[in-house]
Amino acid sequence: MISLQNIEKVYRTNTVETLALNSISLDIAKGEFLSIMGPSGCGKSTLLNIMGLLDQPSKGAIKIADQKTDHLSDKQLANFRNQKLGFIFQSYHLINDLQVLDNVELPLLYRSGSAKERRKLATEALEKVGLANRIKHFPNQLSGGQKQRVAIARAIVGRPEIILADEPTGNLDSAMGNEIMDILMQLNQKDGTTIVMVTHDENMAHKTHRLVRLFDGSQVQ
């Protein structure tokens, strides 16, 4: 589903050059649930962003769903992210000035479809994460776990084949973390969604199919 070949990422600032990723090659199968672990600053987020086409590698090639991505225009990339990918972030990234339902509808605004349809899909997604009774709330009226569930609903509302989650449980206590993990595992098992998850939690990581460890930008396992 996702294929990385010799990915290298160098960050250049005025003074320093950071080699954030060093020759990473990785093949992720359709329906796989993969976790990435490693110490802080080892390049996990960078890798996930590159997989999600939010960032470009300095070297190497990415194929997603058998499609080369290096020649895509801004518009095509945006379309690709919209159709194929769902993102979940450690800090949720909800828009605080929008109600839960509107937050979840967000990806659908960037494709065609009626308002009614968007509403229906968003409500369904919220039902899946067990938040159907909170659709009129604003994000700051929710707990951390609820916020992350809204973010998951937003990630799945467009029925993407791939979900990329960057420490989705990082800000949550273990009970809430487990809830989130259960939802992700269900998505993976029931809907066959391919999931790549960055985590610091060994227990979470061991629930997934495969574990990739990074150290200083290189893959060590």
């Binding site: 939010l54 801004d74 945006a78 159709q83 993102f87 990234h93 828009i95 509107d102 960037y110 494709r111």
Partner: protein
């Protein structure tokens, strides 16, 4: 998407309040400036109503000690003959002090069918006034000697007054009362002609309402100006000769010759200066508002980098992010403008300054256009910057 943006704006109404007030305030200031500009421009477009080139004004004070009215008339009629005998003088006309482009004003009222109209300029002029001024007769005729015997005092009115009193009806033959007391003095004056209004206060002022009265035998007591139409080639040497003729004849009087061309410049300057001051003040204000707007939008976009990154992640292109931000500003502007227009429209509705409604309407449209352009330009660059934000970087920062 529109509805989505509306929700976003509505839910952030507190933050947007300041921005909207700023837009509203600048709209109102612009409205004032444009109203004045449109008013001046409308006046400027209208004909002057007479030919001021080659017309000189002689200021004198009536110092001749006459034993009776006849000898006074004799004195000035002789002067008239002397002046007309000069080579470059084409026409002369004695008249009241309120000559065009002077600061002198003499206003009164007329009434017609019980409706008084105030602010009517009153001119006392001679039969030769029309030719001296090259006034344009629109209806009826100018004064002549036969008017002495008229039962009702004959008057000639300006086109503006005609329209105010009679609309599209014919004015000639109608009787109007002098003063603003209907009934009193009723039917005192008979309109014998209508002339194109004369913009006596310069290019940027309206011609306004005017009534021309014919001089009578006693008028020389109160007249103080002579309008002199000279040939186009009249030289300074001729002016000196004219001056000498006048000064020698009216030994006890202070004589001064002015040219209407220069008087026009002076009075235009007099109206333009406040406008220029207003324009400068308005210009500074607009620059201030533009910078403020730009700053706020810029700040908002930086505050919203996370949101922008997120939108990019879920499928927004750079262009759609920038057009979203511009659209948001335009929606905010629209809301402010709706409110502003509501205030501005009260001016024509309540007829605050007695200006034609069309002036306000044009001013409202100009201000709306100006604000839209301003807001668009101010959000263009921040919007472009937002489009360039790399999604990963924006998400990274929160």
């Amino acid at each position: 998407m529109f509805k989505h943006l509306f929700k976003l704006i509505w839910n952030k109404k507190k933050q947007n309040f300041l921005l909207m007030s700023e837009m509203l305030f600048s709209f109102l200031v612009l409205f004032a400036v444009f109203t004045l500009l449109v008013y001046y421009y409308n006046n400027y477009k209208k004909p002057m109503g007479f030919e001021y080139k080659n017309v000189w004004v002689v200021n004198y004070n009536n110092a001749y000690k006459a034993t009776n009215t006849d000898s006074l008339t004799q004195f000035y009629e002789t002067l008239r003959q002397n002046l007309k005998a000069l080579p470059d003088v084409k026409e002369i006309s004695f008249c009241s002090d309120n000559v065009p482009f002077s600061q002198n004003t003499w206003q009164g009222s007329v009434n017609y069918k019980g409706n008084p109209v105030g602010g009517v300029n009153q001119y006392t002029v001679e039969d030769s006034y029309k030719n001296t001024m090259t006034a344009e007769l629109l209806e009826g005729r100018w004064f002549n000697k036969g008017d002495v015997a008229a039962k009702n005092r004959p008057i000639i009115i300006s086109s503006d007054l005609k329209e105010k009193l009679f609309g599209n009806e014919r004015a000639v033959g109608k009787l109007v009362g002098d003063g603003d007391q209907p009934g009193h003095d009723k039917n005192a004056m008979k309109i014998i002609g209508v002339i194109q209004g004369v913009k006596a206060k310069g290019d940027y002022a309206p011609a306004g309402y005017a009534v021309y009265h014919r001089t009578d035998t006693g008028s020389f007591h109160s007249l103080g100006k002579i309008m002199v139409q000279v040939t186009p080639g009249a030289t300074a040497a001729f002016e000196a000769r004219l001056y000498k003729t006048l000064a020698n004849y009216m030994k006890d009087s202070n004589v001064e010759i002015e040219h209407l061309t220069s008087k026009r410049k002076d009075i235009n300057y007099f109206t333009l200066v406040p406008m220029i001051v207003l324009l400068i003040v308005g210009g500074f204000l607009v620059i201030n508002v533009a910078l403020g707007l730009f700053g706020v939008l810029w700040y908002n976009i930086n505050k919203r980098r996370g949101e922008i990154g997120l939108r990019r992640a879920v499928g927004a292109t750079g262009n759609s992010v920038s057009s979203q931000l511009i659209t948001e500003s335009m929606i905010l502007a629209t809301l402010s403008l709706i409110l502003g227009t509501f205030f501005a429209i009260q001016f024509p509705l309540l007829n605050v300054f007695d200006l034609p409604a069309s002036i306000y309407i044009v001013a409202i449209f100009c201000s709306i256009g100006f604000i839209y352009v301003l807001v668009f330009l101010c959000s263009l660059y921040p919007g472009k910057q937002a489009a360039a934000i790399y999604p990963a970087v924006a998400l990274h920062e929160e």
